[in-house]
């Protein structure tokens, strides 16, 4: 006797179809799993056995062999429990499991000893993969029904207990109400830009960064508002497009987040502490399972590294590849996984460990070599990938409390939206949507410049690299988009150089 059910094994965001076969032979009662299960999956033996009994069904006599095929793919996680339980139950005629629906249904869920079906990690990528593989129906934990229904192209049935699974298969599904999602209402609102008083240049740089998704470097002594500014960036970013929202939600679901409030529609904001390990930043993890890191959780959103130089240099260097490619490939002995990582980088740094180096009226207490060491940690290659370098000067005069209230995030956001629209229109024929994604070759050939002499001068002086030139052009286009112009003028070009080079641009 044998029986088959279907499940999905995740490798990163990719899912492989897994056939769960169960068969029995007469010998001393025993349960054997074959097909590269990991420790968590091997423990399913006991969970599933008790779950089946709790559902009032019989666990088959003799040796129960459960085969997870293809045998060469590593399987991890607890979501196989349901598929294993149903396959094992189907082997025994007495359980009267209805089989016709099993062939195009995937089963996801972790079983409790009492037969309850518990939520699993990565339900959204699991369902996306199932739908890609052509499954019509999926059985998911009832607690995750709200999330599961966000995935298009597949019918989902929620179950709270193993016996409900059998009812679903028999065509008598138990209905579970989906708790009404209340997006954004419960989430703490992102702080507003109107809190930032004075500092007009910084506010403008932030707006440009938001409009073109440019990488931003904030440099200045402690207390000038670097963190304050960065934390307000999400409030002026446009919401995610529906396809982006699914993509971002899938990554966060894989990381184990519960998405009860619906899809993630706001650009995510990740601000890992500077003690974060390289694995937590780039992705990785033990036990054969590779989880997305902060760079992937910040996909289509913002990765904010406060106190940039405090991150290990190796950690920072590991950002170079994702910055360039928009994805990370994580290799382990047995598998290779690729996660998307198209994030907007915001780096903040003090001038030196004590924070007073080069600040008027203050004395730096660091020995010169420490200052140098500190600044060297942000290597040339990393800084070369930043589009906008913002020097934030120490606050030299107290802002008048009675002064005009600065623009709120909503006002700035409307301008950003307009600029994004302009970019999308110009790049409609291309695979890109924002200025930051446009490769240099396209910039130079398709989007001509009025006068390139300032750039040539900076190149000749060694203030700009070739990559730097591309960055200046991208920022210049964003400035034109914000100003509502159809072409880049010399004003935009000079301003972009100023943003890109910080103070060094004046000399050029």
């Amino acid at each position: 006797m044998s029986a088959t059910t279907w499940c999905i094994a995740l490798q990163g965001l990719e899912g492989a179809r897994v056939e769960v076969e169960a068969a029995t032979t007469m010998n001393l009662p025993r349960t054997i799993f074959v097909g590269l299960p990991d420790a968590a999956l091997n423990e399913a033996k006991e969970r599933v056995k008790h779950g089946v009994k709790a559902a009032g069904r019989k666990w088959p006599d003799g040796v129960v062999t459960v085969n997870l095929s293809p045998g060469s793919v590593h399987k991890h996680g607890t979501h196989f429990d349901l598929a294993i339980a149903v396959a094992a139950m189907s082997v025994d005629e007495r359980n009267e499991v209805a089989r016709p629906l099993l062939a195009d249904t995937v089963l996801f869920g972790e079983l409790g000893l009492d037969g309850r079906v518990r939520p699993v990690r990565g339900i959204i990528p699991l369902l996306l993969a199932a739908s890609r593989h052509g499954f019509e129906r999926a059985v998911v934990p009832a607690a995750q029904l709200a999330e599961a229904e966000l995935v298009p192209g597949i019918t989902v049935w929620g179950v709270a207990h193993l016996h409900e699974v059998l009812e679903v298969l028999a065509g008598r599904p138990v209905l579970h109400s989906v708790p009404q999602a209340q997006p954004d209402e419960a989430a703490p609102a992102s702080p507003d830009l109107s809190d930032v008083r004075g500092n007009e240049e910084a506010r403008f740089a932030l707006e440009v960064a938001a409009a073109g998704r440019h990488h931003l470097f904030l440099h200045g002594p402690p207390g000038v508002g670097k963190t304050m500014l960065a934390s307000r960036l999400p409030s002026i970013l446009p919401p995610l497009a529906p396809s982006e929202a699914i993509e971002v939600s899938a990554i966060h679901s894989l990381a184990g987040e519960r998405l009860d409030g619906g899809l993630i529609t706001r650009p995510p904001f990740q601000d890992p502490h500077h003690t974060a390990s390289r694995q937590s930043l780039v992705g990785g993890g033990g036990g054969g399972e590779i989880r997305p890191g902060a760079v992937s959780l910040a996909h289509r959103g913002v990765l904010f590294l406060d106190e940039g130089p405090e991150f290990g240099q190796k950690t920072l260097e590991s950002l170079r590849v994702p910055l360039e490619n928009g994805y990370v490939s994580i290799g382990r002995a047995m598998q290779q996984v690729r996660f998307p990582a198209r994030f907007q980088l915001v780096l903040a740094a003090n001038p030196c460990p004590c924070g007073s180096h080069g600040v008027a009226g203050k004395e730096c207490s660091c020995p010169p070599f420490r200052v140098r060491q500190y600044q060297d940690r942000l290597s040339g290659p990393i800084l070369d990938r930043v589009d906008i370098m913002l020097q934030m000067p120490a606050v030299t005069r107290f802002m008048e409390v009675d002064g005009p209230v600065p623009e709120s995030s909503a006002v700035v956001l409307s301008r950003v939206l307009e600029a994004r629209e302009r970019q999308a229109r110009r790049l409609a024929e291309t695979p890109w949507t924002t200025n930051n994604e446009v490769p240099g070759s396209y910039l130079r050939s398709e989007l001509p410049l009025p006068d390139a002499s300032p750039i040539n001068r900076a190149l000749a002086l060694g203030k700009l690299t070739s990559r730097g030139v591309d960055k200046v052009l991208r920022v210049a286009w964003t400035l034109a988009d914000l100003a509502g112009k159809e072409a880049v003028g010399s004003t935009e070009l000079m301003a972009a150089m100023r943003l890109r080079l910080g103070d060094a641009a004046r000399a050029a």
Partner: protein, 124 residues
């Protein structure tokens, strides 16, 4: 020897009696019951004439289904020990056959009639 209460010992020997009757009904000849030596005990020793096999049977009895399948109580180590005992028995009794086989018989009470499971060749 594990100490057992009166009731459980009675249950065990009743189960063994049922198992022996079952094996006889299957056409086996019971040679000996409850053979003991220093190493342990064999519940039933039978001769399976069609297969020319000496069969050493371990009987497990359960009073109800709440304690799992009776045969679950036979571990791999236990089955191996039974085979060692079988060799000792052969040595002691000087009896020969083409095949030596260890079988498990589970007797499960609780239903209308006791449910008997017979698994052949659990150790070699």
């Amino acid at each position: 020897m594990v100490r057992q209460g009166k009731v459980s010992r009675a249950l065990g020997s009743h189960g063994e009696q049922l198992a022996a009757e079952y094996l006889q009904a299957q056409g086996m000849e019971i040679l000996e019951r409850n053979w003991r030596c220093a190493e342990g005990e064999l519940d039933i020793i039978a001769y399976d004439a069609p297969a020319d096999a000496l069969v050493f049977v371990e009987v497990k009895t359960k009073s109800g289904p709440g304690f799992g399948h009776p045969l679950e109580a036979i571990t791999v180590a236990k089955a191996r020990r039974l085979y060692r005992l079988a060799l000792l028995w052969v040595d002691d009794r000087r009896r020969r056959a083409r095949v030596l086989r260890v079988d498990g018989v589970g007797v499960l009470f609780g239903g209308q009639v006791p449910e008997i499971t017979h698994v052949r060749g659990i150790a070699a």
